[in-house]
Amino acid sequence: MQAIDFVAPTSVDEAISALAAGSGMARPLSGGTDLIAQLQEGRLALDTVVDLKRIPELMAISINSDGLTLGASVSCHSINNNQAIRDAYPALIDSTHLIGGTQIQGRASLGGNLCNSSPAADSIPNLIAHSVTCHIAGPNGRRTVPVEEFCTAPGRNVLENGEFLVALEFPAPPANFGAAYLRFIPRNEMDIAVVGAGASVVLSDDGGTIQSARVSIGAVAPTPLFVQEAGDALAGQPVSEETLAKAADLARDAARPISDMRGTIPQRKHLSGVLTQRALRIAIDRARGTKTVDELGRLNGHG
């Protein structure tokens, strides 16, 4: 087994230097729930682990009238226990409560879930629904990427050699905003999504009209999909089952899944529509202030 180096920089600049040192086989570490498992199984070639969790910016939660800036290495546990996030972005908890079990949530981060870039990642459709911007640092400085453009293929993303994700920026939720993430699994807990769907809406003040919407589905393509046409079809429409069914049809049409051990193509296409419609209903209820996180937990099997 190859010996490796371990470094724990305390600033973004130090981390950039650490990732650039050596033979280009340094990898950043956040919660380690993907990286260490892959390392142990010999599926990952690296010579240096750069632990990002000693960098304050990577561990910071900053929430104010401009929105939420979430350090890329903040654990799901920290998010679940942050009342300000639960109040302002309740739909985010849909994902952070679903990723692994309690002890995985103690370590796993949304930044790590995004950078692992699994097509079935439980956070990514949710981040897309929330219009998140990814802040990236690297040897050529900083840049930002909309989250829907971050993943490029299974396990691949826009990060260049030496780059890493610093933070996720959530815009402040507009008035009458609601979002939700739902996934289908054949078990009650601890499984990988057969299909996942994230949705968000902004309603008119009377709650009767959808001003704008975003829909994203996961595990139905090589990357999580932003189904812009579904959101566009909802804009300006009255809140009705008929309207939502149209968006669900568009999500189903956008899905281009494979058949594998978790599900078949027809099942995944069908689920893409069903979950989109249900996630939109919950997003609308939340936008109207009628559904709490705990109520949604029951829908996701958390009773």
Binding site: G31, G32, I36, G100, G101, T102, E189, H302
Partner: protein, 159 residues
């Protein structure tokens, strides 16, 4: 195997300052068992699925097989060996005995550490809370029911 440079790690382990040497790629579980002789934490799966190696890291429940040993520098680690205090079994350990909540015992340290984290977080959990919290701990002797009853018994005793 290449000769790895060893790292000295200082940590608070079960309430006492501890310094140990580890290789950079060793997991916390390996360091606990192989370097420190604390063999209460078990390796079930080695990839974060079974919970047999669970420990508290700064009070947060984690799989020690998914932590690199050097990561715990300056941190507080509690293992199953730190659950009993002053030679007295923790109430969870006592209730696991009374309810016969174990058969082969491999999963038990992880369940006890997880259950302690639950009760620290929520002293009066519902049965559903217990089952959900413990969903990441696997028992292949199918003792879940007695485990859940033992945890609820302690929770009720607390409230």
């Amino acid at each position: 195997m290449d000769m790895a440079k060893k790292i000295a790690v200082t940590t608070t382990l079960n309430g006492e300052e501890s310094i140990f040497l580890c290789e950079p790629r060793q997991t916390l579980l390996e360091a606990l068992r192989d370097n420190l002789g604390l063999i209460g934490s078990k390796e079930g799966c080695g990839n974060g699925n079974c919970g047999a190696c669970n420990v508290l890291l700064d009070g947060v429940l984690v799989n020690s097989c998914l932590v690199l040993a050097p990561e715990v520098e300056g941190r507080d680690v509690v293992t199953i060996e730190g659950i009993a205090q002053d030679g007295e079994l923790h109430p969870l350990q006592q209730k696991f005995l009374e309810h016969a909540s174990l058969q082969c015992g491999i999963c038990t340290p992880g369940f006890i550490v997880s259950a302690k984290a639950l009760l620290d977080d929520n002293p009066a959990p519902s049965e559903h809370d217990v089952r959900l919290w413990l969903a990441g701990n696997l028992c292949r002797c199918t003792g879940y029911d007695k485990i859940v009853r033992a945890v609820l018994d302690v929770a009720e005793g607390d409230s």
